[in-house]
């Protein structure tokens, strides 16, 4: 439905304007002002998502809450916003995550607080922009513009090796998206408009489709990240401050998969079909190979970072299994499970991994180390914290009842329809993911308390508890009743599947 109230615009610009206001609070002597403004802004953002969800019409794949103005006439660029079933959950996800980040950084960030909060609010606005943009250039503007605040957040508030990590992150993602711009411009030349939907009916020859596919692939694969362009992620996640890691894991990575759904599948369906084996193989490598890599980690953040890669492998697998499934069963309706599984997997991963990063941030803030071997027996002094972490670890492992299960379950089930071995490799995550997650959990949280610092730890503060409770509630809610999420997806996923199976040759 269309409302006259520019809800999406408000969701984009409110945080950005708040960021400006925060910057005006000045130095760290007014840090609490900055914190409170950030908090208020993010809570308002979250509240604004309620009408977004309730007024969302689940029966139509059309864009809703549409806003469309000419932005730059000379370029033919529109300020076009709108959400469908695929992007709406992502918008909500963004606002929740920002609130969590604000809560989690309340005490851990002590220097340049205003700049920090501002950076994250700008990120929020831009991220919503990415998910809500219906114009390719607007999308790209947000997509790339986000690099600036996140680059700064890693670089300024990161840990020892932050410069390297931030530059690596920046170059990697910039590298990926450069060619996408060429593809978008190319499409625009032929469709005459930058509206993403105008690219859908475009007829493109196979070779052109493959080129565009590769351009998109680079952009999105880097963000997802897919093997072998994933190596920025462990560094960036590890060095970023807790909030940065959360935003990276919870949101940035999703943009990649979102890109596949919004661009690759509907714009170049034939190339996707042609190259789906590549995507599947890369996804499986992410799941299995990266899983093993995660086992070998000695750094908690790095381990979770690698686990992110593995989990996102599921999301990409879900996106690209659809062709095999339809080929095997001959029924497009069968592919829903896979694609919706991918969506659920993305959202679930955001919460569980985000929460784990917040958790590691809590520990890092107190013990100034991330090495697994420096921990041990954390449960004893911090039982509440440990319980939360156990929940999120279990979601990471994909335990039924938590959100992590839903996506994996759906994707494994549907990938069997496509190919037996794909399902087998995908299902191997059951063992591998639990191996690395729980082994780390064991070494960090269980065992004897050997260090006096650990024995002296206090359990998490009320603010942290609040942040964790929000995350835990969502994790459980999605795990127990995913239909609440799935129902908003159906129409859009169905539409997407139609588009992805229309030959454009």
């Amino acid at each position: 439905m269309t409302t006259t109230f520019p809800l999406l615009s408000v969701l984009i610009w409110l945080p950005i304007i708040s960021a400006g206001v925060i910057m005006m609070t000045g130095g760290d002597e007014n840090a609490n002002w900055a914190r409170w403004i950030a908090m208020v802004a993010s809570v308002i953002g979250l509240l604004l998502c309620i009408p977004l969800y309730t007024h969302f019409d689940v029966n139509t794949p059309k864009m809703q809450f549409v806003e469309n103005f000419v932005w730059i006439k000379a370029y033919g660029v529109h300020y076009g916003l709108g959400v469908d079933g695929i992007s709406m959950p992502m918008v909500i996800l963004t606002t929740i995550t920002t609130l969590v980040v604000v809560l989690a950084s309340w005490t851990t960030i002590k220097t340049k607080v205003a700049q920090y909060m501002a950076a994250f609010l700008v990120m929020q606005g831009m991220m919503v922009g990415v998910f809500a943009a219906t114009d390719a250039i607007l999308f790209y503007v947000f997509w790339e513009g986000m690099l600036i605040p996140i680059y700064l957040s890693i670089g300024i508030w990161g840990s020892a090796n932050r410069s390297y990590a931030s530059i690596k992150f920046f170059l990697f993602t910039f590298f990926g998206s450069a060619l996408m711009l060429v593809a978008l411009l190319y499409l625009r030349i032929h469709s005459g408009s930058f509206a993403i939907e105008s690219f859908y009916p475009l007829k493109l020859s196979m070779i052109v489709q493959i080129f565009i596919f590769i351009a998109f692939l680079l952009a999105f694969a880097v963000k997802v990240p897919m093997w072998p362009v994933h190596t920025w992620l462990p560094d960036a996640h590890t060095e970023a401050p807790a909030g940065g890691s959360v935003v990276l894991a919870a949101l940035m990575l999703k943009m990649g998969v979102y890109g596949f759904l919004r661009f690759s599948l509907p714009i170049v369906p034939n190339a996707c079909q042609q190259l789906d084996w590549l995507m599947i193989v890369l996804s499986l490598i992410a799941i299995v190979y990266i899983g093993f890599v995660a086992i070998a980690q000695t750094d908690t953040k790095r381990l979770i970072a690698y686990s992110s890669v593995a989990h996102m492998g599921f999301a990409t697998l879900g996106c690209f299994m659809i062709y095999l499934i339809v080929k095997a069963t001959g029924n497009i309706a069968d592919a829903y499970v896979s694609l919706e599984g991918a969506m659920v997997q993305m959202i679930s991963h955001a919460f569980s991994t985000g929460a784990l990063f917040v958790g590691v941030g809590v520990l890092y803030d107190r013990l100034h180390t991330r090495n697994i071997s420096d921990f041990g027996g954390i449960t004893k002094p911090m039982p509440i914290f440990a319980s939360f972490m156990m929940l999120f670890a279990m979601s990471n492992v994909g335990l039924p009842g938590t959100s992590g299960f839903v996506g994996e379950f759906m994707i494994i089930l549907s990938s069997f329809q496509g190919n037996f071995w794909v399902a087998v490799f995908a299902a191997s995550t059951l063992v591998i993911a639990s191996a690395y997650t729980l082994w780390m959990f064991k070494r960090v949280f269980f065992g004897q308390v050997v260090r006096t610092e650990i024995a002296a730890l206090k359990d998490i503060s009320a603010l942290d508890t609040m942040a964790f409770t929000i995350l835990a509630a969502v994790v459980l809610l999605i795990g127990v009743y995913p239909q609440g999420l799935l129902r908003v997806l159906h129409a859009s996923v169905g539409h997407l599947l139609q588009l992805a199976h229309v030959s454009k040759l």
Binding site: L367, H368, D374, R451, T452, E453
Partner: protein, 215 residues
């Protein structure tokens, strides 16, 4: 072919050969003073050619402006600066093949374009000689202040620039100015730029850090 034509050809070729020779000498002479003098020769020979081309005013201007002023300036500067010529000797010969190659290439490529097939008499007939009443100066003058008024004004501004620039550059520098001295800059030592200050290290070490160090 009239005698005039023959004469013209003799003059042309003589002047051309002179110019080329002078040019070679300009490049090749070790002493810039000699180079400058050969350049004067080239200018004079060119002036002859220009007269052949009925550009008397410009030919004279070339002599007056170049030979009279510019080259004098050159010589003046050359002599004012005490140039040590010794270390420069060997390089010329070493790079001669390269120079010749470049020159040959340029010549081939350019002459290919300006060859008679494009600019021969077939395409560009030799114009009739101007009548005796023809005045190059008058001709030039009549357009210079009318059609070409705009560039003429610009040229005057250019000369103004030259005056300002030359004066302000050549003016001896005043004492108080802060200067860059590259020699000193190059020889700067790290002690000059960075002062190491001994400070007492922070005493309070976080317990966890200590623990980490122990490992």
């Amino acid at each position: 072919m009239t005698i005039n034509m023959i004469l013209e050809q003799i003059v042309f070729y003589a002047a051309a050969v002179t110019i080329v020779f002078a040019g070679i000498m300009v490049i090749g002479s070790r002493n810039p003073v000699r180079g400058a003098l050969f350049l004067v020769l080239a200018f004079v020979a060119s002036a002859i050619l220009w007269i052949l081309l009925e550009a008397e005013f410009l030919a004279l201007a070339l002599i007056f402006v170049y030979v009279g002023a510019v080259m004098t300036l050159f010589l003046f500067v050359v002599m004012m600066l005490d140039i040590n010529l010794e270390p420069m000797k060997t390089r010329f010969v070493r790079y001669l093949p390269l120079g010749l190659l470049v020159m040959a290439l340029v010549l081939v490529l350019v002459i290919f374009a300006v060859a008679p097939q494009h600019f021969g008499t077939a395409k560009y007939a030799v114009p009739q000689h101007a009548s005796a009443s023809y005045s190059n100066v008058k001709e030039l003058g009549s357009v210079l202040y009318t059609t070409y008024m705009y560039p003429f004004e610009l040229a005057s501004v250019l000369l103004l620039v030259a005056i300002i620039a030359a004066i302000s550059l050549a003016l001896p520098s005043s004492r108080k100015r802060r200067l860059q001295r590259p020699g000193e800059q190059v020889q700067v030592k790290r002690e000059d730029r960075l002062r190491m200050v001994k400070m007492q290290a922070e005493k309070k070490i976080l317990p966890s850090r200590k623990w980490l160090k122990k490992r």
